[in-house]
C-alpha cells in the first residue's frame, strides 16, 4: 500500500518509519534515469523490501533534449509488507528538467516530496516544456514539498578534482548524485551501486571514479543539509519466506526460464528472433549464455525466425522464437505449419500497444484473441501468460514442458510491463526445478509419425539422424497415423478434431484455479497476465471499505483450468479487468454464458489499484463500470481512493 509522507510529522534526528513508499525518477532520455531507477531497485531489493517497478521510456532512442516526448521515467514502490504494484502515485518525485516536471507532476501525491534539479529551469528549457512561467517561482507547486536544488552544479562541484573529464562528461554524472541523495533519504547502503559502477566502467576508470564521487557527493549533501532531516525515512525489510533472493525483470526471468528448460529437458536451446521492442532483451540475454549450449539466431525477419524455429524443432532442439505484435503477426503462417506438423515450438509474445507500430515501448494485453485465433483454418495452440516478472521464469519452463510433451506450439504472453518491470525473486535451486527429460523416438518397430499416445494424443518426436525412422512432414493435411498426404474428407475432420482435442487434453494436468480473497465474496475478479498485482491491490482497497471481493487469475489461457466455469457461475458478479477492450471476457462469456463485466483500460499503462477498486464498487452498485468510451454507458470513475485509503 502506498504511504503518504505528509502524514508523518518531521523528526530531525530519527528516521520516520514508513510501511511503503513510491518514488519516481524522471528526466530527459539522455539523463540516465533508467540506470538510476535500476540501481535504486537493486539496492532496495537487497535491503530486503518487497518492491515493484515501472520503467517508462520513449520510443525514440533520444528525442530532442528537453522536449516532452523525450522524457523518460522510472517508478518504484517498495515496502516492508507484501506489495503488488509499482504504486498508484508517487510519494516522491525527482525530476531533472522542466519537461519531466510537466509530464509527471500531475501524478505526484498531494504534499508529496518534489526534488527538482534546477539547472535547466531557464527560459529556453521552460519554453521547450511548454511553461510560460517558471513553476519553481510562480507558486504553482505549493501543494508539494519542493526541494529545488541545482543538482548539476553540485555534481560539478563534487567532481572538481577530476581533471581528465570534460564538463559535459561530468554533468552526465548528475544521475548518480541524485541517486546518492535518494539513498540517504531512504537510508539505503551505497555499496551495491559502488560495485556495479566498478564493474560497468572497468575499462573507463575515470568515468567510474566520477560516478562514485557523484554518488557519494549526493549522499553526503543530504546528510549535511538540515532541511533533509525532516524527510529522512526508513522502510524496514519485508518479512519474506526464507531463501536467497535477487532482483529480476520479466525479460531476464523469461530468458533464464528458457535456459533452465533446456537444462531440465536435456535439449539444446535454439532461439530464433528478430529484434523488436520490448522483446529484444530476451535475445540479448540468451546470446550471452552460449556456454549453456544455447544457439541464438538473429534472423533476417520474424518469418525466418519462426520458420527456423520450426526447422530446429524438427531437428530436435528446444525451439523458441519471440517477438512483439508486428512480428508475431508475421509468424502466423509458420506457427500454422507447426500446428499441422505437430512440432513443439514456443512463441513468446511480449505484448505492446497496438495496432500496427502502435506504442512500441508501452504495455498492453490486446494480443489474446489474436494469438488464440490468429491463424487460418482450425489451428489450435496452447496459450500461457505469467502474472508477474518472476513468473516469467516459471511459465517459460512450463511452456517448454507442454510444447514437447504435447508436440504443440505454445504461445507465452508477456507484456511490456512484465518485461521491464522488476521484483524480488526467490532463487530456486536448479535441482528443485521441474525436470522433463525428452526421449526421442528411436524404435523403427511399428513407427508411424502420426501414431498418437492415447493419453496425451501426442505424436512421436522422431528426429533426422535417427536410423529407420525416415519420414516426411509437411503442411498439407496428413493422414491419421501414417502422416501421408491426404485429401480424404473424413480424415480431415478426424485430424482437425484430434488437433483440437490434443490441445484440450492439456487441461487434464493443469492446476485448478485457486480463489484468493474473501471466502464469501460478493464479486469475483478474473484476470490474466500482468494485471495480477493491480487486481490484488484493488481488492485490498475495497476490502478496507468492507467490501468482500475475491480474485482468480488465469495463467493457462488455452486450455483453461477445468474449474473456471464453476467459479464464474458461482459469484453474483464477475468482473474482468483487462488492458484491452475486452478479450478474455469474450472467451468466458462464450464458453460459460455468464454475464462477465469488462473493466478495460487501454492507455499503455498498467491499471492502478484505485481504478480496479472503483470498478468493483461500480459493478456492485450495478452502475456501469468505467469502460473507455462505451457510448452511453460511460461509467463514472465516481469512487475516490486516495493512496492512504
Amino acid at each position: 500500500m502506498t504511504a503518504q509522507l505528509d502524514r508523518l510529522s518531521p523528526a530531525p534526528a530519527k528516521r520516520q518509519v514508513l510501511k511503503s513508499v513510491t518514488v519516481r525518477f524522471a528526466g530527459d532520455s539522455g539523463d540516465g534515469v533508467q540506470i538510476t531507477g535500476g540501481q535504486f531497485t537493486n539496492t532496495t531489493a537487497i535491503a530486503g523490501n518487497d518492491l515493484a517497478t515501472l520503467p517508462d521510456f520513449p520510443a525514440e532512442i533520444r528525442a530532442p533534449a528537453g522536449t516532452l516526448p523525450g522524457v523518460s521515467g522510472f517508478q518504484i514502490q517498495f515496502s516492508s509488507a507484501d506489495i503488488h504494484t509499482p504504486g498508484d502515485q508517487p510519494d516522491v518525485l525527482v525530476v531533472f528538467n522542466p519537461a519531466a516536471l510537466k509530464v509527471h507532476l500531475g501524478d505526484l501525491a498531494p504534499n508529496g516530496l518534489l526534488i527538482c534539479d534546477t539547472s535547466q529551469f531557464d527560459k529556453a528549457h521552460l519554453a521547450k516544456a511548454g511553461y510560460t512561467a517558471n513553476p519553481l517561482e510562480d507558486g504553482s507547486l505549493t501543494k508539494f514539498r519542493l526541494f529545488p536544488i541545482n543538482i548539476t552544479e553540485k555534481t560539478l562541484a563534487a567532481l572538481r578534482s577530476l581533471e581528465s573529464l570534460s564538463t559535459r562528461e561530468k554533468q552526465r554524472c548528475k544521475n548518480f548524485y541524485a541517486l546518492g541523495m535518494a539513498y540517504w533519504l531512504f537510508n539505503r547502503p551505497i555499496e551495491t551501486t559502488l560495485r556495479w559502477i566498478e564493474d560497468k566502467f572497468k575499462k573507463e576508470p575515470d568515468i567510474a571514479e566520477a560516478n562514485v564521487l557523484a554518488l557519494k557527493g549526493g549522499y553526503a549533501y543530504c546528510e549535511m543539509t538540515d532541511t533533509f532531516q525532516a524527510v529522512a525515512y526508513e522502510i524496514p525489510p519485508a518479512p519474506t519466506s526464507k531463501g536467497t533472493y535477487r532482483n529480476l525483470s520479466g525479460n531476464q526471468a523469461l530468458a533464464m526460464g528458457l535456459v533452465a528448460a533446456s537444462a531440465r529437458s536435456g535439449l539444446p536451446l535454439f532461439y530464433g528472433a528478430y529484434p523488436i521492442t520490448p522483446a529484444s532483451d530476451i535475445l540479448h540475454e540468451l546470446a550471452r549464455h552460449k556456454n549453456f549450449g544455447v544457439v541464438t539466431f538473429q534472423a533476417e525477419d520474424e518469418i525466418a525466425a519462426a520458420a527456423a524455429t520450426v526447422g530446429a524443432a524438427f531437428a530436435g532442439s528446444l525451439a523458441v522464437t519471440s517477438s512483439a505484435g508486428p512480428g508475431i503477426a508475421l509468424k502466423s503462417e509458420a506457427v500454422s505449419l507447426a500446428v499441422m506438423t505437430e512440432l513443439p515450438i514456443v512463441i513468446v509474445d511480449v505484448q505492446r500497444g497496438g495496432p500496427s507500430t502502435g506504442l512500441p515501448t508501452k504495455t498492453e494485453q490486446a494480443d489474446l484473441l489474436f494469438t488464440l485465433f490468429g491463424r487460418h483454418g482450425e489451428a489450435p495452440v496452447c496459450l500461457l501468460a505469467p502474472a508477474t516478472p518472476g513468473e516469467c521464469f516459471q511459465y517459460a519452463l512450463e511452456a517448454c514442458r507442454i510444447a514437447v510433451k504435447y508436440m504443440t506450439p505454445v504461445y507465452l504472453l508477456s507484456d511490456g510491463y512484465l518485461a521491464n518491470g522488476a521484483e524480488p525473486w526467490r532463487v530456486p535451486a536448479a535441482a528443485e526445478l521441474p525436470q522433463f527429460p525428452v526421449k526421442f523416438e528411436t524404435n523403427p518397430e511399428g513407427f508411424h509419425p502420426y501414431k498418437r499416445d492415447p493419453k496425451t494424443l501426442s505424436r512421436p518426436w522422431a528426429i533426422p539422424g535417427t536410423p529407420g525412422l525416415e519420414h516426411r512432414l509437411g503442411g498439407i493435411e496428413k493422414r491419421e497415423i501414417t502422416g501421408n498426404v491426404s485429401y480424404d474428407p473424413e480424415n480431415h475432420e478426424r485430424m482437425s478434431v484430434l488437433r483440437r482435442d490434443k490441445v484440450n487434453r492439456i487441461a487434464e494436468e493443469i492446476p485448478l484455479l485457486e480463489v484468493e480473497g474473501d471466502k464469501d465474496a460478493e464479486i469475483l475478479l478474473i484476470g490474466w497476465g500482468s494485471t495480477y498485482g493491480a487486481i490484488r491491490a484493488g481488492c485490498e482497497l475495497v476490502r478496507a471499505r468492507g467490501v468482500k471481493a475475491a480474485q482468480v487469475h488465469l495463467r493457462h489461457l488455452h486450455p483453461m483450468p477445468k474449474n473456471v466455469g464453476a467459479l464464474v457461475k458461482k459469484y453474483k458478479r464477475v468482473l474482468c479487468p483487462e488492458m484491452n477492450l475486452g478479450q478474455l471476457s469474450v472467451l468466458l462469456r462464450a464458453e460459460h454464458l455468464v454475464d462477465v463485466i469488462s473493466l478495460n483500460k487501454i492507455q499503455g499503462q498498467p491499471f492502478k489499484a484505485r481504478e480496479i477498486a472503483a470498478g468493483i464498487l461500480n459493478a456492485l452498485d450495478g452502475k456501469p463500470v468505467k469502460q473507455p468510451g462505451a457510448s452511453g454507458a460511460q461509467g463514472e470513475d465516481n469512487h475516490e481512493f486516495d493512496s492512504g485509503a
Binding site: 531463501g243 537444462a263 552460449k290 520458420a307 526447422g311 531437428a315 535417427t466 536410423p467 525416415e470 498426404v485
Partner: protein
C-alpha cells in the same frame, strides 16, 4: 552438437532404390522434375552418407513436392520459407546433409529474401532451384524469371517485370558455390550434384527445368539436342571457354564485354580465350559470365570456401564453454547480486 545420429557405419552400399519412397510421384507425365529426382536419388546413393542423415527441405510448388519422393527425412514446408526452415535444421544439427528444393517462384519471388540471407551466411545447404520460368502448381502465372512480355493467366496482355538473373543474384548474395545445369542433362546434373555434396557451405544450383504443361519448351532454344552445342558453353575450372558443334567457337574478352570468336578465324587461337576460374576469390569473372546470354554458360560459375554459418555458430558455443566453463544453472539463477533471508 545435438546430432543423435547413431554412429553406425552406413550400409555397405546404398542404391538408388534405397532413396525412393513409397509415395506415388505426382508430377505431370513429361515434367522435367522426374529427371532431377532420378539424378538426385542416384547421386545420394553414391555419397556414402547414411540415409537417415539426409534431410530434404522444400517450399511450395510442383518442384517442392520433391521431399515426398525421397526416402530420407523430409520437410515440405511453406511457400518461400524453406531456406529459413533449413537454416534452423542445420543449426540444430550440423551433421545433417540438408538439401533444399525450390522453384523460381518459391525461391525468387516470395522467398527471395531468405535465399539471399542463407547464401550470404553460407549456411551449409545444397539449394536446387528448379527454374521453369513459370508458376507450375498454381497453374501458370509468370514468375520472376519469366521473360518480359510473357502472356500468362495473370498477364493476358504480357508481363512487365524485368526478370531476375538467378546466377547474378546468387553471386551478389556472396554465394560460395554457384552452378547451372538442366533437367535433361542427366550426367552433368549428377556431376554437379556430386560437387555440391562435396562443398561445405551454401550451394546454389539453377536447374533449367521444363514445365510441359504451362511453359513447354522454355529452354528449347538452349538445350534442344540439335542446337545446344552452339547455344551453350560449358564452364569448367581451368579450361578455356570453347563451344560449338565443331568445338570451333570460344569466348574472348573485349574490354569488360565478352565476345564470341571463331577459332582459327582471323588468327584466333585457344590462347585468346577466357580460361575459366571458378575458384577465384574475386567474383568478377563469374558475374560477368552470368550476364552472358548467348551462348548460355552451363556448369560451375564459382566455388570458393568460407566457414559455414552453422559451423561458426557451434564453434562460438564451444569457445564460450572453453572460456567460461560449461554453464552452471545455479550460478545463472543467482546472478550477480543476491540477498538472503533466514
Amino acid at each position: 552438437m545435438s546430432s543423435t545420429a547413431a554412429p553406425e557405419t552406413p550400409k555397405a552400399k546404398l542404391t538408388k532404390a534405397d532413396f525412393q519412397s513409397d509415395q506415388d510421384v505426382r508430377w505431370c507425365p513429361g515434367c522435367g522434375d522426374y529427371a532431377i529426382l532420378s539424378a538426385a536419388q542416384q547421386v545420394f546413393a553414391g555419397l556414402g552418407i547414411p540415409r537417415q542423415n539426409f534431410v530434404m527441405v522444400s517450399g511450395i510448388g510442383c518442384s517442392s513436392r520433391f521431399p515426398y519422393y525421397v526416402n530420407t527425412y523430409g520437410f515440405h514446408t511453406i511457400h518461400g520459407r524453406a531456406p529459413a526452415v533449413a537454416t534452423g535444421i542445420k543449426m540444430a544439427n550440423p551433421e545433417l546433409q540438408v538439401w533444399l528444393i525450390t522453384g523460381d517462384g518459391d525461391a525468387l519471388s516470395i522467398g527471395g529474401n531468405h535465399l539471399m540471407h542463407a547464401l550470404r551466411r553460407n549456411v551449409d545447404l545444397k539449394i536446387l532451384l528448379f527454374n521453369n520460368r513459370i508458376y507450375g502448381l498454381t497453374k501458370g502465372q509468370y514468375s520472376p524469371t519469366s521473360e518480359v512480355g510473357k502472356v500468362t493467366k495473370s498477364t493476358p496482355f504480357g508481363s512487365l517485370d524485368h526478370p531476375v538473373n538467378p546466377i547474378s543474384l546468387a553471386l551478389a548474395c556472396e554465394a560460395t558455390f554457384v552452378a547451372r545445369t538442366a533437367d535433361i542433362y542427366q550426367q552433368h546434373l549428377q556431376e554437379t550434384l556430386k560437387a555440391a555434396a562435396a562443398h561445405k557451405g551454401s550451394v546454389f544450383i539453377e536447374i533449367l527445368q521444363n514445365c510441359i504443361i504451362f511453359n513447354d519448351g522454355a529452354f528449347k532454344d538452349v538445350t534442344d539436342r540439335a542446337i545446344r552445342d552452339d547455344k551453350q558453353v560449358l564452364l569448367e575450372h581451368g579450361r578455356p571457354l570453347i563451344f560449338g558443334k565443331g568445338h570451333d567457337k570460344g569466348l574472348r574478352f573485349n574490354g569488360l564485354d565478352v565476345e564470341v570468336v571463331q577459332l582459327g578465324k582471323d588468327g584466333v587461337t585457344e590462347k585468346d580465350l577466357i580460361v575459366h576460374d571458378a575458384y577465384a576469390e574475386n567474383q568478377t569473372l563469374a558475374y560477368l559470365l552470368s550476364r552472358v546470354e548467348n551462348p548460355v554458360p552451363m556448369g560451375l560459375f564459382r566455388n570458393v570456401t568460407r566457414p559455414s554459418f552453422e559451423q561458426r555458430a557451434h564453434a562460438q558455443v564451444d569457445e564460450t564453454i572453453k572460456k567460461y566453463g560449461k554453464g552452471d544453472l545455479d550460478k545463472l539463477l543467482k546472478g550477480k547480486e543476491t540477498w538472503t533471508v533466514n
